[in-house]
């Protein structure tokens, strides 16, 4: 699809991170000058247990092309158990949104810890790559 390879189109990707692990990982990636595409916009929340599937839907609705939710590894949640609830919730919601016809690449989830700066960089690069491949999002877009 020409739009995807057209250098004019810059994907808009929202990344929700938990404060204690993934955000720290992102910070460390920045600190170490690991480069990753600037198309991702990071929003910090206290814990991945806070992640609400409606954010993903609303992001796609309001113009995002993809969303990533990322938190601490299971067993390492700063608050103990938040990410366990997140895991169940997002697994169900990913299935649900695919059932409605949203491409699986557009709603991704990961576990990235505070010291995994390399992983953060790798996940961001892969994310932008995936979104570039599937192209601009037209589904669930609000009427303008």
């Amino acid at each position: 699809m020409s739009i995807a390879t057209n250098q004019e189109w810059k994907p808009k990707i929202i990344v929700f991170t938990c404060n204690w692990c993934t955000y720290a990982g992102a910070d460390m990636a920045g600190f170490n000058h690991f480069e990753y595409p600037a198309d991702v916009r990071i929003i910090r929340t206290p814990c991945s247990g806070r992640f609400d599937p409606i954010w993903v839907m609303r992001a796609l609705n309001r113009g995002a092309d993809g969303v990533l939710l990322s938190g601490c590894h299971p067993g390492d949640c700063h608050y103990g158990t938040g990410n366990y609830y997140n895991r169940r919730r997002q697994t169900i919601m990913k299935n649900m949104m695919q059932f409605m016809g949203i491409e699986p690449e557009r709603f991704q989830t990961s576990w990235i810890s505070g010291s995994e700066a390399n992983k953060f960089q790798a996940v961001m690069i892969k994310l932008v790559d995936d979104i570039r491949r599937v192209g601009p999002n037209r589904k669930l877009r609000d009427a303008r």
């Binding site: 409606i54 299971p74 169940r88 697994t91 949104m97 016809g101």
Partner: protein, 301 residues
């Protein structure tokens, strides 16, 4: 059905006389022969209006939501699906067990008063004649799962074949085909919110769709806002839907809502196991998404 009616009246009279209840929730005759509505009896004098007939399909546990803040003792007559609704409310801590005296009625399958009303009222095309309601033909639990007294013989589930057949059919389609299917189906939604009001599991005091600050889902009836509404509503049903089928029954435009609910029931069952929502009451039990196991399926990067 007549015996069940007289049994219900007998039990209600006894409970009122013994002072065990302040109100009794059941059904009463509606205005036309096929209309049976929900009913709250406030005293022994009201008991004569209580009936149970082939149109008593309305989910009475929904009426409990109006009484959740009070202290009255409540007698309630429930069928299989209704009793799952009671379990839902107990698990969600919306009502306490000690306030309820539950009469269980194993359900033989009932007819849909709304379908009869449409045919009789002359609106739109005349529908072919009334057999059992669609939700009754798909019933997996006609016997009450929680009760203090049981009235009537045990019934067999009526669901034939694969409960998730239609879900699997859609899962086989490509992403774009799926999106088109849901776009076409949900674009007819008129956002009347009847599905939300009649649902027992929708027990939030302020619904997310009524929030203005911020407003999560727009009020326009365009396709995307409609899809957002249904996606969000069903997201809140994950692991909580009791499969009573009322939402699909009352929908004025015939949207296959149970298809979305069954997808969630299938996924929750396959991924997390455990009993399905509302199928049994254990004190302190929580819905599937409010608990976790350390070895839950994990496909995160």
């Amino acid at each position: 059905m007549k015996e069940i009616t007289s049994k219900l009246q007998e039990i209600a009279t006894r409970l009122f006389n013994e002072g065990k209840i302040d109100v009794f929730l059941a059904w009463e005759k509606g205005e036309q022969e096929f209309q049976t509505k929900s009913y709250i009896a406030h005293s022994v004098d009201d008991v004569k209006n209580i009936i149970f007939n082939e149109y008593s399909i309305y989910n009475v546990s929904n009426a409990l939501l109006k009484l959740r803040d009070g202290h009255e003792k409540i007698g309630i007559a429930v069928k299989g699906c209704d009793s799952r609704g009671v379990v839902r409310l107990l698990e969600d801590l919306q009502i306490t067990r000690d306030r309820l005296y539950i009469i269980g009625i194993p359900c033989p399958g009932l007819k849909d008063p709304l379908a009869a009303a449409r045919s009789f009222g002359g609106l739109g095309k005349k529908e072919s004649d009334q057999g059992l309601a669609k939700k009754c033909l798909e019933c997996i639990q006609p016997n009450p799962v929680i009760y203090d007294e049981l009235v009537g013989p045990e019934q067999t589930p009526r669901q034939q074949g694969d409960r998730f057949a239609q879900v699997r059919e859609i899962e086989q389609m490509s992403a774009d085909e799926r999106y088109k299917f849901w776009e076409d189906t949900l674009s007819t939604c008129i956002r009347c919110y009847a599905c939300r009001q009649v649902c027992v599991a929708c027990d939030c005091r302020t619904c997310i769709f009524d929030e203005m600050k911020p407003q999560w889902v727009g009020r326009e009836t365009n396709t995307t806002d409609n899809m957002m509404y249904h996606l969000v509503k069903h997201a809140h049903m994950a692991g909580r839907c009791i499969e009573c089928g009322e939402c699909e029954r009352v929908c004025p435009v015939g949207i296959p809502l149970m298809l979305l609910n069954r997808k969630l029931i299938k996924d929750v069952g396959e991924l997390f196991g455990g009993t399905e929502a509302g199928l049994q009451y254990t004190e302190g039990a929580k819905p599937a998404l409010s608990v976790f196991k350390e070895n839950d399926p994990d496909n995160f990067q």
